[in-house]
């Protein structure tokens, strides 16, 4: 319903021609002379949870060898609230070892991710994931992505209900196309696609990706203000009475393009649990109809809301859903990080949060987290829950089973002292696999944290949590614009530094310095840490301090992130 005269973006053409996400994927998979899929199919495959990538470390070398890039695929499995069973864990682990690069990655959306899957292993991998009753459909693409919900809480009952709501919503917003079954699971071919329909999405799906998160205050582990649609649990007298709804958050932007910007969500108002599905569907369809399909950099819900005006957008949602928003609550958040180690819930069950650096479960010489989790999955009878901080919760451990889990954690060297900074760090994948990356991220951040930890220790700040996040490009997968220290890659070895984000995720940061190399980052932060140590107020977070001390001005609206004062 866009009234602009501009032509639709090319991805819209591809979606239109794809016949409900079929494209030419079957032909692409059968083609043996290349490890890639057809160019248009690289857009369609995302809806199936598959990204074509190549090992960028090898690109130049292989060009000289007259070989095509070392193509492989990233597969993402969607699991609402990040929940899986021990049996499912074992299967995901097996796929990591047989078809991927011997690692399993936990994403910032509580999903599993495999890297390095070659084309001919795509089908067996996806089939195995589905046989284990998980799915990759809509893990990526212009649809609702994995729904985030709290992986651990002292309020066991309420956490369970929210997880159930998240799952219900994820199912409701799941695409209906049978292409997925046809292509990956050898389902019967639909005679004509006219028999098919996507009642919520329509044949061209959404203008852009769509993200939903549930949180239970005061923990904002699901970064609710960075999401298109957020549900903040309102608990009164031990009962989940409903949700405050937030709309229009989003991270992605482009360097030096102020018309693109991260945006924190606005709160639309309060709804009951029963109203959750109709309201969510109305937000999705309003975005479907009003979102900009001519320019992908301007297609997220945040721009639709800014273009329409919040009031008009909310009115449209109320009209479509038949739900009138009630006044919102005064919600407070204290932090975003996961609990450290064991936590006992109100029913007496134990939950262990395992810190996984950058979400990468692997076997390193001294720390064998992949094998260790396999060993735990073989004996555990509760659940596993991935966290939006890229950690994993070994959930629902009985008092009597604690010792056995602890013994395995020790045996595989899975735990160890982790600095506060490292525990509050996120990094996207970056080089060498991500096609969008301009700079290193996951491979670089751990070493940078070593240096910053030394700096913090010198200033006696090693006990203070600071939220640091790094991405290899400005698209924002690790939500860097809501970090106290945000580092966003511009080129190999070159980063823009953003400062002043809220510890609780309710304030965006602002561009502080551009094009810093490793030493430049350390040099920029060293005087700030020193000043922070000297002049901070009790319990004052670093992000708040740099603003009060005048190092950087607070951001009140997205475009200011670019540094305009």
């Amino acid at each position: 319903m866009s009234t602009e005269a501009a032509p639709l973006s090319d991805v819209e053409r591809i979606k239109t021609e794809s016949r409900f996400l079929r494209g030419t994927l079957v032909e692409s998979l059968a083609e043996r002379a290349t490890g890639a899929i057809a160019e248009d199919d690289t857009q369609i495959s995302k809806f199936h949870g598959i990204y074509q990538q190549d090992d960028r470390d090898l690109r130049a070398e292989r060009r000289k060898q007259k070989l095509e890039p070392a193509f492989s695929f990233m597969i993402r499995a969607r699991m609402p609230a990040g929940i899986c069973t021990p049996e499912q864990w074992l299967e995901m682990d097996r796929l990591a070892r047989t078809h991927a690069n011997q690692t399993l990655r936990i994403t910032t959306r509580q999903a599993f991710q495999w890297h390095g899957v070659i084309k001919k292993n795509l089908k067996p991998t996806i089939r195995a994931i589905n046989d284990a009753l998980l799915s990759t459909l809509a893990a990526c693409g212009d649809v609702n992505r994995n729904v985030i919900a709290p992986p651990v809480s002292e309020l066991a009952e309420i956490r369970g209900r929210i997880a159930a709501d998240a799952t219900r919503l994820a199912d409701h917003l799941s695409p209906r196309t049978r292409a997925y079954h046809e292509i990956w699971l050898d389902g019967n071919k639909v005679e004509t696609t006219e028999q098919e329909s996507e009642p919520i999405y329509g044949p061209t799906y959404l203008p852009r990706k769509f993200k939903i998160s549930f949180v239970i205050p005061p923990l904002n582990d699901g970064d609710v203000y960075a999401q298109d649609l957020g549900f903040i649990a309102i608990v009164e007298e031990g009962e989940l009475i409903g949700y405050d709804v937030t709309i229009g958050g989003g991270m992605g932007m482009a360097h030096g393009a102020p018309e693109t910007y991260p945006r924190l969500a606005d709160t639309a108002g309060f709804i009951t649990r029963e109203q959750m599905i109709p309201v969510a569907e109305a937000v999705v369809t309003t975005q479907r109809d009003f979102g900009d399909r001519t320019e992908r950099k301007h297609a997220r819900l945040k721009y639709t809301i800014d273009d329409m005006g919040l009031d008009k957008f909310v009115a449209e949602v109320e009209q479509r859903s038949g739900v009138k928003f009630a006044p919102a609550h005064d919600v407070r958040f204290s932090h975003r990080g996961d609990p450290d180690g064991w936590l006992q819930d109100d029913r007496g069950a134990w939950h262990y949060t395992l810190f996984v650096e950058n979400g990468r479960l692997a076997d390193r010489s001294d720390r064998r987290q992949l094998s260790g989790m396999r060993a735990i999955a073989q004996v555990h009878d509760g659940e596993f829950r991935l966290t939006a901080n890229q950690n994993v919760v070994i959930g629902d451990v009985a008092e009597t089973a604690k010792a056995r889990i602890e013994a395995l954690l020790d045996e595989y060297g899975m735990t160890g002292s982790v600095s506060k900074l490292r525990r509050n760090a996120l990094a996207c994948v970056g080089l060498p696999t991500c096609g969008l990356a301009m700079a290193e991220s996951e491979r670089y951040l751990p070493g940078l944290i070593d240096r910053l930890d030394d700096l913090l220790a010198e200033n006696g700040l090693d006990d203070d949590p600071i939220v640091i996040r790094m991405t290899g490009c400005p698209n924002g997968c690790a939500r860097p614009y809501v970090a106290e220290i945000g580092l966003v890659g511009k080129a190999e070895g070159s980063y823009n530094l953003f400062l002043g984000g809220g510890f609780d995720g309710r304030r965006l940061n602002r561009l502080y310095a551009e094009n810093l190399n490793d030493q430049g980052i350390v040099d920029a932060l060293a005087p700030l840490f020193a000043d922070y140590a000297k002049r901070r107020r009790p319990d004052e977070h670093f992000g708040d301090f740099v603003i009060r001390a005048g190092h950087v001005a607070a951001v009140s609206a997205g475009p200011e992130v670019h540094g305009s004062r």
Binding site: A33, K64, Q65, K66, L67, E68, A70, K120
Partner: protein
């Protein structure tokens, strides 16, 4: 059928007679006759009744895999004609076998292929002569020039077979069989001189009124040879197998600037190698000889290590070498081996001179060892570029032979080349292969089968067809071990496919799954389509391994023909392809 003569001054009946007569002639005879008549006209002589060539006519027949035999045969025929000797030259493949009983004088030039097999071109004639139907040939006089490679067990076997069979059928020798090794040029030239002398004796026609017909240009002896190679500058030496490959295949670019070497797609370039340092040292050590010891070679005195490096074959064994070595040292342990052909073949394939000396030691002197070894031969590689695309360059695709076994085995030329850096000189000469050329008609579809480095000439073919805008369809079958690392020239094939020049691209990677998959499996999968292309006139090329791949592909073709056209005609279908020159092989 009549021979069309536009605006003929002849009466209709005269023209009919001329046509009828000319129809029975070979091209050679027709050419001669036209020259004869033209000569009479030029001399203003009254027309005489044309005298048919009453004198004995000789035929030069060649059967050649690489084109060497063809070159020798054509040189002989041209030289004979220029002396006024009546000869005709034919590829055995184009020769009706039954015609042999009319022959009086026959010069046979035939190479041996693989483990003693006749080359493709000679197959039909050979099976005819070997059959029950073979006629008595008591009126026939013949001479055989056998081409071969003494590093194979059955050296010059096909030449020997033809020789014996012709004798058995009652034919008599004009001259004893001459056998040539890979450095055949000198021996072949000597044989040609001898044959011309014999020809003068038997083939000299009576002095005739006929003036000498049009002279045929004698194909020039190649400008560069094993003895006088061209020093080509190496422009690039690039590994084209990926880092995880268990092979090391190089793409080499050589400058031919100033050489005046005019090659065509399908030709090979011979490289005069130097033996790798490690191989030389290995041999010196095994034989307990001193690198600096002076030895005599071809009247020259030089240090032993230099002779091993630059002059002598030390990475290839041959039966004569084993025999001579066994005799010289009275080596009993070798006798058993020499008497068992299969074991011998196996030993030759997997061992080098250093192994022989180490496995069967006796105290051999440097000079004695040198005298046993044959000259270091050149190695031919299919040229992987087309002059139309790369004027003044030749690209080679070279698999570096390096086997770590009990003793390190290194291929001489491949290791020599692999160790060179851009700017170095490589000694080369053209090894033309007229049997492996693109169809003259650019619209003819082609099917190219070339696993491993066998794919090299097809890069030249497609470059040529791209440059000339040839409209014919192109289909490539490639195979190797691993898709990720061994897909030689992958981005080029993909680019050509995207452009539409390469219409089809089928690949087989043998070790990417449990059961091995080779190009012949892909051929069978595409059988119906292959057959359709062939029926539509496609040419089919096979390049690469002669031992396993070529026979397997051949069988696959017969099976495809059987499945698509009926079992009874399958063999004939494939034979017919060969006869029509549409099934061409360059296998080694």
């Amino acid at each position: 059928m009549s021979v069309p003569l536009t605006e003929s001054p002849l009466e209709a009946h005269e023209q009919a007679r001329l046509s009828a007569m000319a129809l029975t002639w070979s091209d050679q005879q027709r050419l001669w006759a036209s020259g004869f008549l033209a000569g009479m006209a030029a001399a203003g002589q009254p027309a005489l009744a044309p005298q048919p060539a009453a004198k004995p006519l000789a035929t030069v027949l060649y059967g050649s895999q690489t084109g060497n035999g063809q070159a020798v045969a054509e040189r002989l025929a041209a030289a004979a004609e220029n002396r006024g000797l009546a000869v005709t030259v034919k590829n055995m493949a184009d020769y009706a076998p039954a015609k042999i009983k009319q022959e009086k004088f026959l010069f046979l030039v035939v190479s041996t292929h693989g483990e003693g097999d006749p080359p493709d071109d000679a197959e039909e004639l050979w099976s005819y002569l070997g059959s029950e139907r073979a006629p008595k040939l008591t009126d026939l006089k013949y001479a055989v020039l056998a081409l071969g490679d003494s590093s194979y067990a059955n050296f010059c076997q096909t030449g020997r077979d033809f020789d014996q069979r012709l004798a058995a059928l009652g034919a008599s020798e004009l001259h004893a069989r001459v056998e040539c090794d890979v450095d055949y040029l000198d021996a072949a030239a000597a044989w040609q001189d001898r044959m011309l002398e014999i020809g003068e004796e038997f083939l000299r026609p009576e002095p005739a009124v006929a003036p000498r017909p049009m002279l045929r240009a004698v194909p020039a002896t190649p400008r560069y040879t094993r003895e006088r190679p061209f020093a080509a500058e190496l422009l690039a030496n690039q590994t084209i197998t990926g880092r995880d490959s268990d092979k090391d295949v190089r793409h080499l670019e050589l400058s031919l600037a100033g050489a005046g070497i005019e090659y065509q797609p399908g030709d090979s370039l011979a490289v005069v190698p130097r033996n790798p340092k490690q191989s030389v040292e290995g041999l010196l050590q095994a034989a307990r000889l001193d690198a600096d010891e002076a030895i005599e070679l071809d009247g020259e005195t030089l240090p032993l290590a230099k002779a091993f490096t630059e002059r002598l074959e030390i990475t290839r064994l041959s039966p004569p070498l084993l025999k001579a070595y066994a005799e010289l040292g009275a080596v009993k342990s070798l006798r058993a081996l020499l008497s068992e052909p299969d074991a011998l073949r196996g030993y030759l394939e997997r061992h080098q001179v250093a192994d022989l000396v180490a496995d069967h030691p006796f105290s051999i002197g440097a000079q004695d060892l040198v005298s046993l070894l044959r000259p270091l031969g050149a190695r031919s590689y299919s040229i992987a570029s087309a002059p139309a695309e790369y004027p003044d360059e030749a690209h080679l695709t070279v698999s570096v032979l390096r086997e770590e076994g009990r003793r390190l085995r290194l291929g001489a030329a491949s290791n020599h080349l692999a160790a060179l850096e851009a700017g170095a000189e490589v000694q080369v000469y053209l090894d033309a292969n007229p049997r492996f050329r693109l169809p003259d008609d650019p619209a003819t579809p082609i099917i190219m089968i070339g696993p491993g480095t066998g794919v090299a000439p097809y890069r030249a073919f497609l470059q040529q067809r791209e440059a000339s805008g040839a409209p014919g369809r192109n289909w490539l079958f490639f195979g190797d071990r691993h898709f990720a690392s061994d897909f030689l020239y992958q981005i080029e094939w993909l680019r050509w496919r995207k452009q539409g020049l390469l219409n089809r691209l089928d690949v087989a990677f043998s070790r990417d799954q449990e059961q091995k998959i080779y190009v012949q499996h892909r051929l069978r999968e595409q059988g119906a389509e292959i057959y359709r292309w062939l029926v539509e006139g496609a040419w089919l090329y096979v390049c690469g391994d002669a031992k396993a791949m070529a026979p397997d592909v051949h069988q696959a073709l017969i099976d495809i023909a059987a499945a698509e056209g009926g079992t009874e005609h399958a063999q004939e279908f494939v034979q017919q392809l060969k006869r029509e020159g549409r099934y061409r092989r360059d296998v080694y």
